[in-house]
């Protein structure tokens, strides 16, 4: 039986009544990050303690999806964002659970578990005050950390599954118009206008059509899509139901990488629950329209995130891309018209339908509307998952939410766009973060990776790292990418080892162009980005390697030495204590010396010296 809007409202009231019957709610984050740092033990501990203390009727314990602060996990929140506790049970589960219960029963806030902003040296009780959250605009992630992703009623009680009712009152053309005017652009990388894609898919001839969600997320270190699928799986499903109706597809697939078992299990549960409520299957929402979803577990190759490779992989063939002179909206999966969107793109759809165009277009910039989720990592004080309005500056993200650079170091660059993105220098920090601005400065939005680097990151080494990744992930189908990425890597490796020649720079640029023009798919076409952007903004660093034979960041081992400057050394011997090789010699209170024969140029001494007495040479 299909549920009516009225029934959704009664599910909502029943659910809210059930929750309101409790005095307090404890939410334990059970995202992959927090589980890794021990959230399951905390959850168990809290549940046992609540029962032991006879609080079961007063305190509700819920598990939720990711809050984004994974590095400080396990995260536990009390009430509705009133108190956020971090690193709960990291050292002693029982003791921290006691503290938690004390907060609940006696209202005593546990100082020790509060979030500390290391840059600002401040403690915060409520997550709403933490700068990391304050600068965010959580729309797609709003329910992450709030609802139990394994309970459909929780999603419904927070406004879920209302959008299809609205959508089914509209014609597909009206929905396309709405999504187009809303300016929604694909969050998977290219920033393609979603409405336009839907419109082509709808116009494509063919009875059978498909909608797909891209949850491959192959960028190393990225976890935006994982957190969304784990923390709010119904949002993706809701978006896909609307997309299916709009383009006329009766079947959809969610392509999830195999390394995401929790995302797979939460999505599987969500699909089953949605079927039980007849939100998937025959005559969904009583609309007369049939639509069902299946999950496909992908092997986990980076290139399988590329649209044509993803479809080939879904068909059970090897994940090789093909030229897209004939678009997949016309000839896609099994040669049928197919509309592929990233999972975050799908999760935006219900919000546009529910809240209207004026609301959606008021967020972000004119040409990049809405929000974008980023995974902020690297040398910033606060790392994690953030959702920010488009158009926010890189500076606000890094120095506001991120709390600036760790230690007393200087910012050097921020890498956006995943492995084939580009490195952006200081001079562009006030650039608004949107699709077109990032592309204009030689980088890209990509799916939302953001790696912050400081003066101890060597930009040639960074380029070498990404080219190595891309060489290994190239599918090997076309010559420019298969042979070109590895040769670019070889040249970079040579430069890092001090054996580069000045002609190498022109050679890299030339190879870069050949890849951009000649490769089949986005992997090869954008593989030169890390090289070209670092040559563009950090040519001095390349030249230091090639001409002077030194690595200014002290990273490239073959051409780096560390020396202690006698006049600055206080003889505190901190470096000597930390050096893993015992290579630092000298008497206490006397200037120290590094034994070059033993030194492995790891740079630990440089990093720990409080007197700037160590020089990179």
């Amino acid at each position: 039986m299909a549920l009516s809007l009225k029934q959704l409202d009664s599910i909502t009231s029943a659910f809210n009544a059930k929750e309101q019957a409790y005095d307090k709610i404890i939410r334990v984050c059970c995202g992959t990050g927090c589980i890794t740092s021990g959230a399951n033990r905390v959850l168990e501990g809290v549940l046992t303690a609540v029962e032991r203390e006879g609080l079961s009727s007063k305190v509700l314990v819920k598990k939720t999806g990711c809050h984004g602060l994974c590095e400080r996990g396990p995260i536990v929140t009390l009430g509705n964002d009133e108190i956020l506790y971090q690193s709960v049970g990291k050292r002693d589960v029982a003791a921290d659970v006691d503290l938690l219960l004390k907060t609940v029963t006696e209202g005593k806030v546990a100082d020790k578990l509060l979030f500390r902003d290391s840059a600002r040296k401040e403690k915060y009780t409520s997550s709403l005050d933490i700068p990391f959250y304050k600068g965010q605009k959580r729309i797609v992630l709003a329910m992450n950390g709030l609802i139990n992703p394994e309970e459909i009623d929780d999603y419904i009680a927070h406004g879920g599954y209302r959008a299809p009712f609205r959508a089914f009152q509209m014609t597909p053309e009206e929905i396309i118009d709405w999504v187009t005017k809303g300016g929604l652009r694909g969050r998977g990388g290219g920033g393609f206008l979603t409405g336009r894609k839907w419109s082509s898919a709808r116009a494509a001839k063919g009875g059978l059509k498909y909608v797909l969600a891209n949850g491959d997320e192959g960028d190393p270190g990225a976890f935006m899509d994982r957190s969304l699928m784990e923390g709010n799986p119904h949002a993706v499903i809701e978006g896909m139901v609307i997309g299916g109706y709009t383009i006329g597809a009766q079947q959809g697939y969610i392509y999830v990488r195999d390394e995401y078992p929790l995302a797979v299990s939460r999505l599987t549960k969500a699909i089953e629950q949605a079927r039980d409520y007849n939100m998937l299957g025959h005559d969904v929402f009583g609309s007369g329209f049939d639509f069902d979803l299946e999950i496909y577990r992908g092997g986990g190759a980076f290139v399988c995130g590329e649209s044509t490779a993803l479809m080939s992989s879904l068909e059970g063939k090897s994940g090789e891309p093909r030229d897209k002179y004939v678009h997949t909206v016309e000839h896609g999966l099994w040669d049928k018209p197919t509309n592929l969107n990233n999972v975050e793109t799908w999760a935006n759809v219900p919000h546009i339908i529910n809240n209207g165009l004026d609301w959606y277009t008021s967020i972000g910039t004119k040409k990049s509307t809405g929000t974008k989720i980023f995974s902020l990592v690297g040398k910033v004080n606060n790392t994690g998952l953030i959702e920010v309005p488009m158009g926010i500056s890189l500076r606000e993200i890094i120095f506001g939410l991120g709390g600036g650079i760790r230690g007393k170091r200087q910012f050097k660059a921020v890498q956006t766009g995943g492995p084939s993105g580009g490195c952006i220098p200081e001079q562009h920090l006030d650039m608004p973060v949107d699709f077109d601005s990032l592309t204009s400065i030689g980088s890209m939005m990509g799916s939302g990776g953001m790696i912050v680097m400081d003066e101890r990151n060597c930009m040639v080494d960074v380029a070498r790292y990404f080219l190595r990744f891309l060489t290994e992930e190239s599918c090997g189908k076309c010559v420019p990418c298969r042979e070109g990425t590895r040769r670019m890597h070889e040249i970079l490796d040579r430069i890092c080892k001090g054996a580069g020649k000045i002609e190498d720079l022109m050679h890299l640029e030339e190879l870069g162009k050949a890849l951009q023009w000649g490769a089949i798919c986005g992997l090869g076409q954008s593989a030169p980005n890390p090289v070209l952007s670092t040559i563009r903004y950090f040519s001095d660093e390349y030249k230091a390697h090639i001409i002077e034979g030194r690595c200014p960041a002290g990273v490239c081992k073959e051409i780096t030495t560390f020396t202690i400057m006698e006049e600055k050394c206080t003889g505190c011997m901190r470096c000597a204590a930390e050096c893993p090789m015992g290579a630092i010699i000298g008497e206490k209170k006397e200037p120290q010396r590094i034994d070059d024969l033993r030194c492995i140029t790891c740079g630990i001494c440089y990093d720990v010296c409080s007197f700037d007495a160590i020089k990179i040479g």
Binding site: A301, V303, S318, R322, D323, Y325, V326, T471, E472, E473, S474, C475, G476, K477, C478, V479, P480, R482, E483, G484, T485, R486, R487, E490, H507, E510, L511, K513, A514, W517, G518, A519, I520
Partner: protein, 236 residues
């Protein structure tokens, strides 16, 4: 039918027809490695690139796959095209230094210097995939495939072991543009892709001709008695 121009010359083509075919019909020279008239295109080598201007939008495309469209302008020898072609040839020459075909093409396109350390372990295989497609689409036994990815990609029978399905016909040897695939015959035994095949001796002229295994396969699939097939083509 659609109208388009190639290097300024107005030509007509079937809508959707591959630009490579159109251009060759009109007498333009475009080099290719992975395209074959019988097996079609796969877009791997990128030697056939041309530049297309479609209503002001310029891009470099693989002509063996790009469909002819109304009013597009095609350039077969622009700077961009030349750079991609020369890069492909220099990269292939570094990968397959012993492949005569590549040496020849490289010279033809003005690639005189290879700025990379040549590979020693790839033989002459350029991974054009023609042998795989030939075995599947023409012979019909699919004994070959590609495995691995990136620079480690390889062609051959599954797991690099003698293939169960290979009939030893040698079609891949003939189609391979570079002569990478070795096939040897000695004392009535043919070896290809590490699999040994006993050759049938013609009952009339006593000469060894085709593998017995291949004859049995033909006999089975086409319903011709093996005895008939044992007689070599010359004596039939």
């Amino acid at each position: 039918m659609v109208q388009l121009s190639i290097n300024g010359k107005k030509v007509t083509a079937e809508e959707g027809e591959a630009l490579l075919k159109v251009a060759r019909r009109e007498g333009f020279v475009i080099p290719t490695l992975c395209y074959h008239e019988l097996l079609g295109s796969s877009g791997r080598c990128r030697l056939c690139v041309v530049e297309v201007n479609d209503a002001g939008k310029k891009r470099v495309v693989a002509s063996c796959l790009y469909p002819a469209k109304e009013n597009i302008e095609v350039f077969t020898d622009s700077d961009e095209v030349r750079l991609v072609r020369r890069t492909v040839l220099e990269l292939l020459l570094a990968r397959n230094p012993s492949a005569e075909l590549i040496q020849h093409l490289a010279k033809q396109h003005g690639v005189t210097e290879v700025r990379y350390t040549p590979d020693q372990d790839k033989g002459k295989c350029i991974l054009c995939n023609l042998c795989v497609r030939c075995c599947k689409d023409i012979v019909g036994v699919s004994a070959l495939g590609m495995s691995g990815k990136g620079p480690m990609k390889k062609v051959g029978p599954p797991f690099d072991e003698p293939s169960e399905t290979c009939i030893g016909c040698g079609a891949c040897v003939v189609i391979c543009p570079t002569g990478h695939i070795a096939m040897e015959e000695e004392k009535g035994v043919r070896t290809v892709w590490q699999k040994k095949f006993e050759l049938a001796a013609c009952p009339k002229c006593k000469r060894y001709h085709l593998p017995l295994f291949q004859l049995e396969w033909i006999s089975k699939t086409r319903n011709i008695p093996v005895e008939e097939l044992m007689v070599c083509e010359d004596c039939r």
